[in-house]
């Protein structure tokens, strides 16, 4: 076998080894990506639970500023109620509670229900 042929065969072997190594590396990278995605999902899970289907949780209440928390707790006691009913629990003016309840509606924690000419509020996301 000539020197050129020997070198050619060696190059072919090296090429095969490179292809094999590349394949292994691709598998490792793919597995790492999968692991990263899984870890990411697990890390996000508790946060998603806090923002779960229920509009009411201790975590949500703690995130709210004091004035809205008071309104939210009062509405939770009523389960469903009007602004004046919430105001009778918090001891604040009806107009103020109406404003706070509408803020909670915009934040997505409370829903508005129209019954004839009256507006009722309820915690959004029935458990």
């Amino acid at each position: 076998m000539s020197k050129v042929e020997v070198e050619g065969n060696a190059l072919l072997r090296m090429e095969k080894e490179f292809i094999s190594m590349r394949s292994y590396l691709e598998q490792i990278i793919s597995l790492q990506k999968e692991m990263m995605q899984r870890l990411d999902r697990e890390e996000k899970a508790p946060e998603e639970a806090d923002n779960g289907s229920s509009g009411l949780s201790v975590a949500v209440l703690l995130r709210l500023p004091d004035h809205l928390r008071k309104t939210m707790v009062a509405l939770s006691k009523l389960v469903e109620g009007r602004a004046d009913e919430v105001a009778s629990i918090t001891g604040r003016a009806r107009a103020i509670e109406s404003g706070y309840l509408n803020q909670l509606v915009r934040l997505g924690y409370v829903k508005k229900i129209r019954k004839k000419h009256q507006i009722y509020f309820a915690i959004d996301g029935e458990a």
């Binding site: 779960g52 949780s57 458990a127």
Partner: protein
């Protein structure tokens, strides 16, 4: 009279929460109030030992799972106070499987339970007309206990004079109760050395608590051996109507009425 949901909570276990809960419930019932006592300590239920219910199938666990209403779960236990009042009890499932299941419930389930506790409170107070609802919770800061405390009209915190208990209770009051602007009452139970033995260190702890929380401290109950000696099945205040412990609990009940 507007019904009231009172939770009995503590930072550490063994403070006498369940014992106080059942005796307070009995005092209120014997005053002519319609009373519901709820065992909300799903990890270590106690009230079934006091009331020994037979053939019980419905538990508060079912209410929190959304499969039953609280009205379906309550049992008339007025016989336990010789029918001297109306006392209903909601029991926590005390089977090992149920306790294991409650412990393994996910965070999402516990979060959703807050809404169900609010519904339960409304049904008891507004629909079933209970004057007093007493919830006996698990100790510590865990979701189910916090849920009950958040939903309560008045939250009673029971602590002993143990250093760790006082430190934890103080932190819990600041970080949880004050955040939610809870109407809070504090009972010091098993006050060994404080009021009975006149231990200056223990007296100092009591003085500090009273100066910080003022009228929120509604009772300092010494440690009576005869209270601990009586089996749970015998409700103390019923069998010992003139005992100082009973008298002190009557004062606690009267002060709670003012909240």
């Amino acid at each position: 009279m507007m019904g009231k949901f009172i939770t009995i909570h503590s930072y550490k276990g063994g403070t006498g929460k369940s014992y106080l809960a059942v005796n307070l419930a009995a005092i209120y019932a014997m005053q002519g109030k319609k009373v519901a006592l709820l065992d909300l300590d799903f990890r270590a239920p106690t009230q079934h030992v006091v009331f020994e219910p037979k053939g019980l199938k419905n538990y508060i666990n079912n209410v929190l799972d959304g499969s039953m209403n609280i009205g379906d779960v309550l049992l008339d236990c007025s016989y336990k106070i010789d029918n001297k009042g109306k006392l209903y009890v909601g029991f926590a499932d005390f089977s090992t499987e149920a306790i294991r299941e409650m412990v393994s419930k996910g965070k999402k389930w516990e979060i959703e339970a807050l809404q169900r506790i609010y519904r339960m409170r409304k049904e008891l107070v507004d629909d079933l007309g209970f004057d007093i609802v007493i919830g006996d919770t698990s100790p510590g800061i865990q979701y189910l206990s916090i849920n009950a405390v958040v939903a309560a009209d008045v939250a009673v915190v029971v602590s002993t004079l143990d250093d760790a208990d006082i430190a934890g209770t103080t932190r819990m009051l600041k970080e949880l109760y004050e955040t939610f602007e809870k109407e809070t009452a504090i009972i010091i139970n098993k006050a060994i050395g404080g009021t009975d033995l006149k231990d200056p260190e223990k007296d100092k702890i009591i003085e500090d608590l009273q100066s910080r929380y003022k009228e929120a401290v509604i009772g300092i109950l010494p440690c009576f051996c005869e209270v601990g000696r009586l089996k749970r099945g015998n409700i103390f205040i019923l069998n010992n109507p003139k005992h100082p412990f009973t008298e002190m609990l009557r004062v606690v009940a009267a002060k709670l009425d003012l909240f």
